[in-house]
Symmetry: none
Subunit: 403 residues, 2 copies
């Protein structure tokens, strides 16, 4: 695990660019026909050339056997320890739909539910009400006004929404109102410690108004709140690593987690890898470090679509020359976690990593980018949170430690 306070004292000025290109859910599992993974089945001549010139390895997002969500997986890539320094579920849900969470705000996850005439829960997920029906209901909740805080509400998907309160003296130490059972009433909003009593009262006032507005709504006449949390006050990425850091991402979640870390979000026109690399070109002189996020490999993996995931990787490979034209000193191509299409979900498997830094990388015996090659790569298998110090070193941005 990288020691961030040591790293933050070793900054060295250098006129070098680092690009961290993340293909979400990159890691896969072999298909039956030929034993190749999605990445191995994809035609990736550009990445294969970089693999020959650079060094491969594998990163472990959180720890052996641990399957990360998108938030923890990215925090680990950004050099943080998401287990020692957890980010609340409410915060992750909120930033995932583009709600800003600032220090002092209180964020939570919301679930629509159904209740009977006695106020007892009949379905904790409101029959997983479809998004096109849940979204307008969520919009009615966004109109609620309470004393003591402004409240932002946004639909996530199905029965899920996110809520962020902003106001003076808020405290996120609140207990879930979801009783995790049917046949009982939603719990009142309780403070987990006395200083949060005022916040509990504000949230309860909001909940009471929400139940009023949901009354008679056949699909979802109740709600519960969970995962109250605030900005985790991460050590700011630019200060920790000594770089002007920018994020290029299509999805709110990845912009949000970058912003939590203190990165700037770079304006992006379009949503393809070409568009993202064009945005990188436009921002090139303003940043030393660019995190570029490509969502599609994960989405196709979650669909169980092996071919679609391989094609999504090929799209990135075809666009890559435009990124290489910018002449980054250090380019890392990896994923935040694995999403094998066979599993249709995130997984714990280590993630392929390609490190290319012509001036400073050793070669290994590997000549293409894929899981089997990466597992035998020269960098070995190591915690994802060690990647950032390694990238800084290759970019000539870390001083020697000790005489």
């Amino acid at each position: 695990m990288a020691n961030l306070s040591v790293i933050s004292e070793l900054h060295k000025r250098a006129n070098t660019h680092i690009v961290l290109l993340v293909m979400d859910g990159l890691g896969g599992l072999p298909r039956e026909s030929d034993g190749r993974t999605e990445l191995e089945a994809a035609a990736t001549p550009n990445m294969d050339r970089l693999a020959r010139e650079g060094t491969l390895g594998m990163t472990i997002p959180l720890g052996a056997g641990l399957t990360p969500g998108s938030g923890p997986a990215h925090l680990s890539l950004f050099g943080y320890d998401p287990i020692a320094r957890p980010v609340g579920r409410g915060v992750l849900e909120s930033i995932g739909v583009g709600l800003e969470v600032r220090p002092g705000d209180v964020a939570a996850r919301g679930n629509f539910c159904t209740i009977d005439a006695h106020g007892l829960i009949t379905d904790r997920r409101a029959s997983r009400i479809p998004g096109d029906q849940a979204a307008p209901i969520t919009e009615r909740l966004a109109e609620i006004r309470v004393d003591g805080a402004s409240v932002a509400v946004r639909h996530v998907r199905e029965h899920r929404f996110a809520i962020v309160l902003r106001g003076p003296g808020l405290d996120p130490a609140l207990e879930d109102t979801d009783p995790q059972a049917t046949g009982v009433a939603p719990l009142p909003v309780r403070a987990a410690h006395p200083p949060a009593a005022k916040t509990a009262a504000i949230v309860q006032a909001w909940v009471d108004q929400a139940f009023e507005r949901l009354r008679g709504e056949p699909l979802a006449n109740g709600l519960t709140l969970r995962g109250f949390s605030t900005d985790p006050a991460l050590p700011p990425f630019p200060k920790t690593f000594g770089v002007r850091a920018g994020c290029i991402a299509v999805y709110p979640m990845y912009r949000g987690v970058s912003a939590l870390a203190g990165m700037q979000v770079v304006a992006l026109d379009g949503e393809t890898p070409e568009d993202e690399f064009r945005a990188a070109a436009g921002a090139w002189n303003d940043y030393d470090f660019l995190f570029i996020h490509v969502k599609k490999p994960d989405s196709r993996g979650e669909d169980g679509d092996f071919e679609g995931k391989a094609r999504a990787i090929e799209e990135v490979d075809r666009a890559l020359p435009a990124l290489l034209d910018l002449k980054p000193e250090v380019l890392a191509i990896t994923g935040d976690h694995s999403t094998p299409s066979r599993l249709r979900s995130h997984s714990w498997h280590p993630v392929p990593l390609l490190l290319w830094a012509p001036a400073t990388t050793r070669r290994d015996a590997q000549d293409h980018f894929g899981e089997t090659a990466c597992a035998a790569g020269g960098l070995g298998t190591f915690p994802a949170s060690d990647l950032m110090p390694l990238l800084l070193a290759h970019a000539g941005r870390l001083e020697k430690y000790g005489a």
Copy 2:
């Protein structure tokens, strides 16, 4: 990271010898012509045979991306955690020139500077005054006597010297006198906390006398002191690892860091690998563990001399049969860090390791000693501070843990 208190409770008696042969700065980077590193380009038939019979791996001196100085790099090889237990810069500079630092002593790094008629610094490094001119000036400082402590002073190189105070009740909590700027006067010696006030006064008395003696000296008429520190009180190496431990090294730095760890320094006549291995033969019956340090690969690496570094490695290989004739049960050949001649400096790259212990090593698929082979070696890539327990185990010197 090795748990030293666990290791120290598992000692087992054995009549076995361990040799840790360190080629300073061993790790390198590939040259353009054929992609070989210095170690790979060197003709090393003896080491290649040992590689076939033994197991290869890579060690990480301090952590991902961290480039170690010589002191921390060796402490890590000796099983300590140099970040959790840092050794002061003053101590490292002093032992580097052969000044002894005992518990309770206060060591510092000194810089000659030039000051103008108003006492303001005009050059913080005295134009990097050449050693042959700085050495006699340093000798004049060595004649200074102060109340409360004996003081040893020794020239390092250019404008740098080291100073060690010894006396009752000294405290190293002193602030640097280097203001890190020109146009201002050197700072007075200040205590960082009240108990160090007496030590501050003693050092200030020495500084005042030093300025008297330097007055009118055109090359260096002032000085500053930095990095006040004392012996880090490391858990003694012989007691921690249950071995009679000796150090064979030409350079004071490596003798000094071994002595800090509690090793004995073995008398050495000459300075070649042959001479060092002859010293090992002479000391063979007095020690269970010998650390043998060869400096030249690092020096040639820092010169940017690829061929010279390769030849320095070949010299060690040619001399190796004399060491093997002693029949050590365990021989580890490695470096303390990498010094790629392409970078002309220490680097963060993992360090090649060859572990040869005929009775207990597994073989891997590697048949020569080099970075690419080591990265694919059977021991994998692991923290250098884990090496010592591994060597003890291969020497039959560790009991089983638990029933």
